[in-house]
């Protein structure tokens, strides 16, 4: 098993390098030389400009520039944000926990909805429950997050006035009141993101369950007289989760996209809204770094999925 994890790690490294290469090439190809723009920005004092030109090695050949850039990124030296007046890595580390909190809670909500609904629907295919669940799932992933977000604000904030629609970092309370307010203001963003993911996850779970439920070993399990619930949970679900893990991992890029939109709508101070504001403010080092962080997160989640996969399927870790 540990050997298997090690192997997956070895595969993750080239993907990270590949992604960094894609990012660097995009940046190098971009008109107006975004690296140079920094160094020629009139707001930047001349001595900083010179230092920057030297650091980025702007006059070196392109592969050297890539290696320099890569080395700097690997050392956590991600540059300086002139808009926020702080180091990019500090800025991102400040914002990252909020993003992970929202995405993580949404993921849990999605699982809590998708697994029971998908499993139950698959055990009664084409029943009324299945059809309703299917229709809702279909509508759910056809509804773009920005529209659900607006609908939620319209219903729960404007009409009903139950929930705040602006996420605040400095809540003026302590202890339990603070925790409750933290939860209360996260409800809408987490619902928006979670329901969106739950919709596609429900479909994954249902179809994976249906694929497994007709396999021979499920009949074997039923022939043992184990009872419907035990057959479903121990034999069908356990196997159906294997492809579901992969499918969820493949969804991660879309999840981060949804998170950016959600953060923007509810003004959550995470790295998604940081990306948007940096783009609007032409803050190139931050744009680069946030994109790279998102890419790293995707690779990280793929790695977690691989490990889960190996844990769920004994055939993998033995190979």
């Amino acid at each position: 098993m540990s050997q298997y994890i090690l192997r997956r790690l070895m595969i993750a490294i080239p993907s990270l390098l590949g992604i960094s290469l894609v990012l660097f090439v995009v940046l190098a190809l971009a008109p107006g030389d975004p690296f140079g723009e920094l160094a020629t920005n009139p707001n930047v004092p001349p001595e900083v400009q010179a230092a920057l030109r030297a650091k980025f090695g702007l006059d070196d050949p392109i592969y050297l520039r890539y290696l320099h850039w890569l080395a700097a990124m690997a050392q956590g030296d991600w540059g300086f944000s002139f808009v926020s007046r702080m180091n990019v890595d500090t800025l991102i580390l400040q914002r990252l926990p909020t993003t992970l909190y929202v995405i993580g809670s949404a993921q849990l909500l999605a699982l809590a909805i998708a697994i029971p609904v998908g499993v139950y629907a698959a055990t009664r295919p084409y029943s009324i429950f299945d059809q309703i669940a299917n229709t809702f799932a279909f509508i759910g992933f056809s509804l773009p997050t920005f529209f659900t977000g607006i609908l939620f604000i319209l219903i729960f904030s404007v009409k009903l006035d139950w929930l705040p629609f602006v996420y605040s970092t400095d809540i003026k309370a302590t202890g339990i009141a603070w925790a409750l307010e933290m939860i209360r203001q996260a409800i809408m963003p987490v619902m928006v993101l979670g329901l969106f993911q739950a919709a596609s996850m429900t479909r994954f779970v249902r179809s994976a369950m249906l694929d497994v439920i007709r396999l021979d070993y499920v009949t074997t399990a039923r022939a043992k007289g184990l009872g419907q619930a035990k057959v479903i949970v121990k034999h069908v679900m356990r196997n159906a989760m294997i492809p579901v893990v992969t499918l969820i991992a493949l969804q991660m890029p879309a999840v981060f996209g949804g998170a950016i939109v959600t953060e923007q709508i509810f003004r959550i101070p995470g790295i998604g809204s940081l990306l948007i504001s940096s783009i609007l403010a032409n803050d190139t080092p931050v744009v680069m770094a946030v994109t790279f962080v998102f890419a790293c997160l995707v690779v990280l989640f793929n790695l977690i999925a691989d490990v889960l996969y190996g844990w769920l399927d004994p055939r993998i870790s033995f190979r």
Binding site: T220, G227, P314, F318
Partner: protein, 325 residues
Amino acid sequence: MALLDIKGLKTHFTTDDGILQAVDGVDISINRGETLCVVGESGCGKTVTAMSILKLIAMPPGKIVAGEIIFEGRDLVPLSSSELDDIRAKEIGFIFQEPMTSLNPVLTIGEQIAESLRRHEAVTKKQALERTIEMLKLVQIPNAAGRVHHYPHQFSGGMRQRVMIAMALACRPKLVIADEPTTALDVTIQAQILDLLQDMKERFGMAVMLITHAMGVVAETAQRVVVMYAGKVVEEAPVDELFGNPRHPYTQGLIRSIPRIDLDAEHKTRLEAIGGSVPILINPTPGCRFAPRCKHAMSICAEREPRLREIAPGHRIACHLGDAQ
């Protein structure tokens, strides 16, 4: 009284094109401790009959529309799924055709055998493990105590079928239904598995319902034989009677299609095949279902369905030909 008595069983499937009459009025009975072979071509309803006994067919689209399945004096057809669960594995064990796909790939074989024991008998986890190892030893799996913690993919096809047998017999059922247990295996392994089954039967004294399409297997193992064709029983007889005096043209065709190695080269005749194939059982034509392929078909065969009737003690056929003789 027979251990299991199937009377007039009809199992139909709903398909896009109409009702598929997979099993259409089958009578089969098995006595205690007896080996009964059910033979016939693929698609003749053998497997559906066997699966109907424990309601292991997918419902829907499948449905038992008529008949009784009387096991130890109790009709299984009206029982609910949870009532049947007490009979499954405990009273009637099942061995499936495909050892490669019939075991759950993510559970160790030990877990899979032990869960049956834990379900039906008051045993602790430790006792269940011990019984499991004991069963694995009985089915001659080397190093049973170590292998019990292995996963199915670490076993060969023949070994997996041994595991399946151990699983089916773990609770000492009174009847074991083996659905083509050797079809998916190499020829050399086939004989070993059949021997093992025979051996287990003698040891535990259970009845065996062996489903097969290989006449050679029938000759080797059966006491009585039921021949099925297109969802119906066409002939039933003790094994010697069936091979010595087959009366239904379909049975005769099946027996003629067995390769013979005991004949001299000059006596060897061309292997005979039965022309045509099993009809699709949606809106079947009236009359005998074998008539379109039958060399002896008469005008009555296309009009009236022959009924199963006894022509000698224990020997029954469903054919109009017997009437004429």
